[in-house]
């Protein structure tokens, strides 16, 4: 079906989320909808799926005007949404999960017609090469397959228009490749597809046409065959962006962080880190790659003193910290950029200034004998805001009201406000816009060049390859390979991330 959104405008209190946005997709085409967080992509799709009503503008499906008062109407009009977070009942099998809410019934008691549903699921899976077993339980399925179950759900409801919201966020590089194959297959079969993402490579690979959103408006359109990553990034951000991380070759010196046979348990008591040994030297960046949930979180928590190691040793500059407190680790000159900035790195109700001293408030010049020197705090926070170009009305602004990129800058500025020997950066750019990513990478490389040892954990392959001098890949709690130099390629690291060793 042909889909067209015309001049869609949606205003929220204080924000113009969509400002006269028009997009159009033909039957059997893939539209890549590219934009940073907050560009208005999700609002636009929520309008298409009936969650919001636009203040003005029209939705045309096959040139007929449609209005959706609720998601059910959108579904019946053939619009299927695949959300970033899956909406599946874990204890159901695939047939039940797919049919839920659209069950066909049979017999006098109008019971669920399981046989018919199962057959349709199997047929659809076959037809679009989804390789999903209708009898598997959802909770036993890997993430990539669950996503395909979501796609099945949409197809089962006879969706001709499929919207995928950041579908690759939870996938390994290989699962992403598989997904792209499926998307192509669906498009060839006549499904109209809107693919929402902020990743440049993905739209270039899968889309027939690209529309870029910026601050609630259409910033431009592009043809993936003729455009470049740089041009797209430029449209997305509104200025020229340095995509590759400029850095000199590393000059590794003494070992700063040394892990030996480290074992760490997760919250449920399962062994999450299984015998990791790794050295990180001053002046080098070791990037830890891997799909989320392979023990990276527990590893970082163990190093930073937040989680006790089960066995093994952690040495920082020769000091054993396997059972040290976070304060002790921090006082050794360790900067920690935590993986979830809102939960772990900031106190969103406190001001920028108060957050700027969050892990150093007990040190001079901020305080002495338990009493603050407010002037010193303000002075250094002002400097930090200037040095790191943090966009905030003032240092007395509540941190929670800043944009994600600026919040992360507050954290990075704070962590680098005292001399640093070791940087532990967990997902340092997750969810940030291209401009902030560039900036934070540059700051991390600066610390490396100044002689700090850097351990960066990331699930973003591009980031790992661009920032890391060496890349260690974690899978199921172990380091399954370390690649460096010429071996440090997309294919090699991607292969290891999926657990394919050697």
């Amino acid at each position: 079906m042909h889909l067209e959104l015309k001049e869609i405008t949606k205003r929220f209190p204080g924000v113009l989320a969509n400002d006269r946005i028009s997009i159009s997709v033909d039957r059997g085409q893939v539209l890549g909808l590219l934009g940073e967080n907050g560009a208005g992509k999700t609002t636009l799709m929520n309008i298409l799926s009936g969650l919001y009503r636009p203040d003005s503008g029209q939705i045309l499906i096959d040139d007929k005007m449609r209005t959706f008062d609720d998601p059910a109407e959108a579904i019946s009009a053939g619009v299927g949404m695949i959300h970033q977070h899956f909406q599946l009942v874990p204890v159901f099998d695939v047939t039940e999960a797919v049919a839920l809410g659209a069950e066909t019934t049979t017999g006098p008691l109008r019971t669920f017609d399981r046989a018919t549903a199962r057959q349709r699921v199997a047929e659809l899976s076959e037809q679009y090469n989804l390789h999903v077993n209708p009898d598997s339980r959802i909770e036993d399925l890997p993430v990539g397959v669950r996503q395909r179950v979501e796609i099945l759900k949409a197809l089962y409801r006879k969706s001709d228009i499929l919207v995928l919201d950041e579908p690759s966020a939870v996938l390994t590089p290989f699962e992403t490749e598989e997904l792209f194959g499926i998307i192509r297959g669906l498009a060839d079969g006549g499904t109209t597809i809107i693919f929402i993402t902020h990743k440049l490579n993905e739209v270039l690979e899968v889309a027939d046409h690209i529309t870029v959103l910026r601050r609630g408006t259409v910033a431009g359109s592009a043809d993936p065959k003729t455009t470049s990553r740089e041009q797209l990034a430029n449209l997305m951000v509104g200025r020229d962006v340095e995509l590759s991380v400029a850095k000199k070759p590393s000059t590794p010196a003494d070992v700063v962080l040394s892990l030996k046979d480290l074992f760490v348990r997760d919250d449920r008591g399962h062994m999450a880190v299984k015998g990791i040994s790794l050295d990180v030297r001053a002046g080098e960046t070791v990037a830890i790659a891997g799909v989320q949930g392979n023990g990276q979180t527990e590893l970082v928590e163990a190093i930073t003193g937040l989680r006790a190691a089960d066995s093994g040793t952690i040495l920082i500059s020769g000091v054993d910290v396997s059972h040290a407190t976070p304060r002790r680790v921090s006082d050794l000159g360790v900067a920690h950029i935590p993986e979830d900035r809102n939960r772990d790195g900031l106190i969103s109700q406190m001001t920028v200034a108060e957050n700027y001293i969050l892990d150093a408030y007990h040190r001079e010049p901020y305080s002495k004998n338990l009493v603050f020197h407010p002037e010193a705090v303000r002075q250094r926070a002002e400097n930090g805001v200037q040095d790191f170009d943090i966009r905030t009305p003032s240092i007395d602004t509540v941190a929670g009201s800043l944009s994600g990129g600026n919040q992360q800058k507050v954290i990075v500025a704070r962590e680098f406000s005292f001399p640093v020997k070791l940087v532990i950066a967990a997902q340092p750019t997750r969810g940030l816009d291209v401009g902030s990513i560039e900036y934070i990478h540059r700051r991390i490389v600066e610390q490396r060049d100044a002689g700090a040892a850097i351990l960066m954990v990331s699930t973003e392959l591009e980031e790992v390859l661009a920032v890391g001098d060496r890349v260690a890949v974690m899978f199921a709690g172990e380091i399954v390979g370390i690649v460096e130099g010429a071996e440090q390629t997309f294919e090699n690291v991607g292969m290891l991330m999926g657990g394919h060793v050697g």
Partner: protein
């Protein structure tokens, strides 16, 4: 209006909540005024006038009861310094301050705990146990013939220590074992009440010849602020309450320990990541909270009442929870809210006598205030204020 809003800052919502509560209260005064309502059919004009008259009379009596009669102030000035006339004039307002004093202490106690996200329901128990501790110390040390000011000081210190221990226990249990402070503090309230009852039945403390659980009259008391006017009960405990409020504010916003309490209160995880001890913050907050409550209890027994009984607190610890909510957990707000509650308590008596409207109306208004404060969106929509983040800005 905008300028007003900015300068009042965080006090706008509570003030509007109070205003709204009084307006709703007046509606209830009118619809329960049956004599007037019966005229509604025959003479609507008179009914309306009567309704307005009733509301004005009721709230007028409330204000006069809480702050004093203008005529009495005038008479006092005219009398040229007659102590009796002065006492008559200022008695209502000093009674308001007397009623506010324990509420300031207990309100601060709740607010400090709240700032650390600890829900101290045990302020009531810490208050009465603090009063008990101060009583025991005052009687013991004065019977030993110590210098009275020293007895007073020891009684206060002893009182604070008793309550601080009573706050430390649930804090420690929560930090070490995860025992929920709401459960433990409620239970410790009962334990505290029983300890006080048991103690007051001992021959050592009990008033001679009384079978009631009432202690001997204390010989050492907080000095009165107007020693020449014996009818005025206001003592220096009120000034101490103001000083303590300022100290608590300084502690919360200008010291590293206060910063830890606030940080842990907002976001326990981030506080842990920043190297703070979450358990330490909880224990400290509960101990300080208990100490503040107990200081309030000590002032009540050493100042206002002068002898210990098992009903030394008329719900000060529980009212303080609502009060701290109204105050937004700010020490300055606690003082303001305590003065409001004190005024309602004091003025309500005159209102009941003059207009026959029962005191219960004031509890009704008090409850409405809390409800409106707890529902900021409701107030914002009534007064068409733009919605904004309720996160507050606090100075470092």
């Amino acid at each position: 209006m905008n300028r007003l809003r900015r300068s009042l800052g965080p006090a706008v919502l509570p003030l509007l909540a109070v205003l709204t509560a009084f307006i709703v209260g007046s509606i209830f005064i009118v619809i329960t005024d049956f004599d007037n309502l019966s005229k509604l059919g025959s003479d609507p004009g008179a009914a309306l006038g009567g309704a307005i008259g009733t509301v004005v009379a009721a709230y007028g009596a409330l204000i006069v009861g809480a702050f004093g009669e203008p005529g009495n102030y005038w008479a006092a000035i005219q009398s040229g310094g007659d102590p009796k006339a002065i006492a008559t004039a200022i008695r209502p307002i000093t009674e308001t301050l007397v009623a506010a004093t324990p509420l300031i202490f207990t309100g601060l106690a709740v607010a400090v705990a709240f700032r650390t996200s600890v829900f101290n329901i045990g302020v009531e128990g810490q208050f009465i146990l603090g009063a008990f501790g101060a009583t025991v110390a005052a009687i013991v040390f004065s019977e030993q013939g110590l210098w009275p000011p020293l007895v007073l000081l020891l009684a206060i210190i002893f009182g604070i220590a008793t309550g601080a221990v009573w706050g430390f226990i649930p804090g420690f249990l929560k930090a070490r074992t995860g025992a929920h402070e709401v459960i433990t503090t409620i239970m410790l309230n009962y334990v505290a009440a029983q300890i006080v009852l048991y103690g007051l039945r001992s021959d050592f403390l009990r008033q001679a010849g009384s079978s009631q659980p009432i202690s001997k009259v204390l010989t050492v008391r907080m000095p009165l602020m107007f020693p020449d006017l014996p009818a005025i009960r206001l003592h220096w405990g009120f000034i101490l309450a103001l000083i303590v409020a300022a100290l608590v504010s300084w502690f919360l916003f200008k010291t590293t320990k206060g910063y830890e309490l606030r940080a842990a209160g907002f976001n326990m995880t981030a506080a842990r990541y920043a190297g703070m001890s979450a358990g330490g913050a909880i224990i400290l907050a509960m101990t300080v909270s208990g100490g503040l409550a107990a200081l309030g209890g000590s002032m009540e027994v050493l100042g206002t009442v002068g002898q210990m009984s098992n009903d030394i607190s008329s719900g000060f610890g529980f009212n303080a929870i609502a009060l701290a909510l109204l105050a937004g957990n700010r020490p300055s707000g606690v003082v303001a809210a305590a003065l409001l509650f004190g005024a309602l308590r004091t003025g309500g008596g005159l209102m009941q006598v003059k207009t026959g409207i029962p005191l219960d109306l004031l509890f009704f208004i008090q409850a409405l205030v809390i409800m409106f404060v707890a529902a900021p969106l409701l107030i914002r929509s009534i007064y068409r204020m733009p919605a904004r983040s309720t996160a507050e800005v606090s100075p470092v």
